[in-house]
Symmetry: C2
Subunit: 566 residues, 2 copies
């Protein structure tokens, strides 16, 4: 019976040649397993998502050229994804079945997602035909990602035409809880169509998206038979049990049937590892670490610089960076002001020691005094009502820190990791060109209450106090004026975060949120803060998406927007 | 015969109630003209484009509520656009025909644009039915924007079902040359279908989009019979000549036919003004002025602050701001460094005097010295190869200026107008959190060579030297190090700009650009600079789009991107 290998590899967007090399390397690794069919992730050659590279005619030509070089080198039957262009100029999200150095046939994705982070109708035309690969009594249907998420998709057509197995090339982005929703969806698909489901997912970070891999094989009854690791490359092997030929019913799409001979070589035995119980936050943390590692490495950086305030956000960010890149590639800078407490200064230093990273101190008082001396005369005509809380001064301090960090980033060639969390980004509690500066924001999509949980998890994971517990339990403060605490400007985070979840991630309206038992005045205030800070988020740095709705491609709101939630 | 009024109004995204008031005010103004049918722009009630507000169920409910309040107040037959939700939860881009205080019927947009700056398939389902309004011998087809841009659109169905007139609710964004492409497209539509075409376009700025209005009526032979102003609100009146009933052929879509009685009141005579010949840059300049005015006013600001370097970009930006907001609402600040020449310092002051704006001087030397004193010891371990040209120091200076400008923006409650042009944004010749800071970038989509042309145009328009000619003719320099000139880092702008036009706006490949006669090495260098500075543009400020492809929603490239143009 056929042996399948799911080649869960980490490709890079646009890196056509090196992705082709990765495909060949994976096939070389797989060769000793004697697979009959190797399945790669969606858009294997191009990386995913290539976004507007897909509007460039030159990108399709380049992909075609690299495919032409790659094909003769592929002997084992393989499903490889790439962007294709027909002679009449139609663009498709395509999988090629390659065997013995030749393209046997191609399949075009039928269902194109155009919601949430996806824009595939901007680029592609829908495919119209399902595909089955027939080998002896076995038929293997071929689909691409979204194709498998809908009941009326081509999987149903392949099954109707007799397929017992569906092979899926996928690039399905991670968020917390995504694995469960995949299992639910594909369990329905398997049982409805009485098929095995081979799900090969992309692994790797691409800008704000994290592809978690976690490829698997599901039985017709919805059981996970074998599963690859999350956030790492892996070859997952599956031997299909003996199948009986199925009578073909009439599918709703045409189904192309390709007959192939699979090898009848004897195969080495494989070991199926049992699934291990995971910490509930392990996936989110793993996603954040992969996000940082891949953004840094794929963009040609070796290390990062981080401003360490002694607070929890920068502490967690630094821990993620060390787990992603190693302590030798992380540079911590603390930049105390006259408002910094002794405790936060100590905590910043202790954290750096715990992590074993380079640590420097740059007080901001001197440039702050200089700015104020020069600016004060120009303030003379300002209406005091325009800035009653003197946010001007708070912002200047935050911006001096950005000048320091960016100077060191330039001088040392390090990427500045931003430390903003999702709660403060949501309500606009941050300074543009100040603490909002940076090249990548490691915890951008993590609510403050989850920042705390993840910090405890970091200590648990490392079996020691990496992040000082004093940092975790301290009342949050920006330390930009005397005795400042976040809760003077914002609701307490345990009040704020659940409302943000309902409003931002679930798009509920004001009355719906109230109905869930939240205080009306607080909800109104928070919604107003979120709506009014869109202009800050538009200029904010990207970071990894780990929830169903991040501030990024998921949420495209106008800046000029006078809609008031009622 | 029926009299039509095209109500070219300036709505605001999300401002449902005040847009409804604007509709009523326009109808009140139109009443004395005794119109039989008033046509409003697309999405009249919601503004356009509402983007992800269209994913909020609460937005549809709110729109339905405001429509329910508005409808009884509309007596004159009117076509009003709004976002609608069916009972089964489908969303449509809809026009209601309202008369005598009641919705007579509705029409759903059939063709949904999902390219360039448009994402309508993210939000809406396609309509399936065309609509004709029958009054005596006249049938008026109703379509919405994109519907009229395609030959197979519902205009053809309406015409096949006997319409002699097509009324189009539109929100078609401006770019240089757009008017000609509209005329060409609609001329084909008119002659092919033998119809009059009533094109009511939105006017106003919405984030990066400028809707120019310029509504018109076209005859079946493609002649412009009457045309509204660009960039201003206007009621455009058109009396249809006597029509004969046409035999209905079979349309490809079903066509709903609504019989209505138009008033037979006698109508006051109207005057058709002849078209005036315009300066070739008048439209671009008008668009930039409207962009600034609408962004500032619709976001609740009264004035702007601008850093005046004595260079051409800030000079043009300041001139636009004064034309948009009046000199009393523009605050200029010059921030000389040790590298600023006497000439640029003089030019900044002279410009401010010419424009009659407030002007302050804030030298950057003192904070720069302070930063360097503190940072120098931390630079000690840096590899000198990481920053051979000492960009670090240049960036610090640019960022000190941003600290100044943002402090005054905060203190005075003014929007910081950014002064970057498209050429420098394209090649990444700018400092993040420095000269790239701001709330709106007035000339973001203007290439440097056009900045020069527009500067001469400003002086011509005002009939005096507003922008000092010495500023226009000076060799461009960032003045961030001794004897610096832009052309030390970049090709001369007359070489750079045409290549940017081909690569950025037309998406041509490297060989295609060479074929047009450009130097291969220069083209390769420029393409690399454009590709490598995407991360800067992702954090850049929005500004008005005046070309067919701006750096914004038009061009969605990944940051992590290793594709190399060959």
């Amino acid at each position: 019976m056929p042996r399948y290998v799911l080649a869960q590899i980490n490709t890079t967007v646009g890196a056509l040649e090196s992705n082709a090399e990765k495909i060949l390397a994976a096939l070389e690794d797989a060769a000793s397993l004697k697979p009959d069919l190797v399945i790669f992730p969606e858009m294997t050659l191009a990386g995913y998502p290539p976004e507007d590279l897909l509007l460039k005619p030159g990108f399709y030509r380049a992909a075609a050229d690299v495919m032409a070089e790659l094909t003769p080198k592929i002997k084992i039957p393989s499903l490889v994804g790439y962007p294709s262009r027909t002679q009449s100029g139609e663009h498709h999200n395509t999988a090629a079945l390659i065997a013995d150095g030749q393209v046997v046939t191609t399949y075009n994705k039928c269902l194109l997602p155009n919601y949430a982070v996806f824009d595939e109708k901007r680029y592609f035309k829908e495919g119209q035909t399902a595909l089955n690969i027939e080998t002896g009594a076995t038929k293997t249907g071929v689909v691409i990602c979204e194709d498998a998420w809908e009941d009326y998709g081509p999987s149903a057509d392949s099954a109707a035409a007799g397929a017992q197995v569906i092979a899926c090339l996928s690039a399905s982005p991670f968020h917390h809880g995504k694995e469960e929703s995949r299992f639910d969806t594909f369990k329905r698909l398997c049982s409805k169509n009485n098929v095995y489901f081979l799900y090969c997912n992309l692994v790797g970070g691409q800008d704000e998206l994290i592809f978690d891999g976690a490829s698997f094989v599901m039985s017709p009854t919805g059981e996970i038979l074998t599963k690859a690791k999350s956030f790492e490359e892996e070859l997952l092997v599956f031997d299909l049990p003996e199948q009986e030929k199925r009578p073909a019913k009439s599918p709703s799409r045409p189904v192309k049937n390709i007959r192939m001979q699979f090898t009848e070589e004897s195969k080495p035995a494989i070991e199926i590892k049992p699934a291990v119980e995971k910490h509930p936050l392990a996936d989110v943390y793993g996603g954040l670490v992969l996000g940082v590692r891949d953004y840094v490495r794929k963009n040609g950086f070796t290390g990062v610089i981080i401003g360490l305030s002694g607070g929890i956000d920068s502490a967690l960010t630094a821990a993620i960076a060390v787990d992603a890149l190693g302590s030798e590639n992380v540079f911590g800078v603390t930049m105390p002001s006259r408002y910094s407490s002794g405790e936060t200064k100590d905590d910043a230093r202790i954290l750096a020691e715990n992590l074993g990273i380079r640590f420097e101190t740059l007080p901001i008082e001197a440039p702050f005094a200089e700015f104020n001396k020069l600016l004060t005369p120009i303030y003379k005509d300002a209406d005091p009502k325009k800035d009653p809380e003197n946010l001007t001064d708070q912002n200047i301090q935050a911006r001096i820190r950005a000048v320091y960090l960016m100077a060191l980033s330039n001088k040392y060639g390090l990427l500045l990791l931003n430390t903003s969390n999702k709660s403060e980004s949501a309500v606009g509690y941050g300074t543009l060109y100040g603490d909002m500066a940076g090249g990548y924001a490691a915890i951008k999509d993590v609510l403050k209450t989850d920042v705390w949980k993840l910090s405890y998890y970091v200590n648990e994971l490392h079996g020691r106090e990496v992040i000082p517990v004093s940092t975790i339990v301290r009342v949050p403060s920006a330390e930009l004026r005397e005795d400042q605490e976040d809760r003077q400007s914002l609701p307490d985070y345990p009040v704020l975060d659940p409302i943000l979840e309902l409003f931002v991630e679930q798009d509920l309206t004001y009355p719906e949120i109230i109905e869930r038992g939240h205080d009306a005045e607080t909800v109104r205030k928070i919604i107003r803060m979120v709506d009014r800070s869109e202009f800050k988020r538009r200029q904010s740095v990207i970071g990894p998406r780990v929830t169903p709705k991040a501030f990024g491609k998921d949420r495209r709101l106008p800046l000029t927007n006078r809609f008031i939630q009622k």
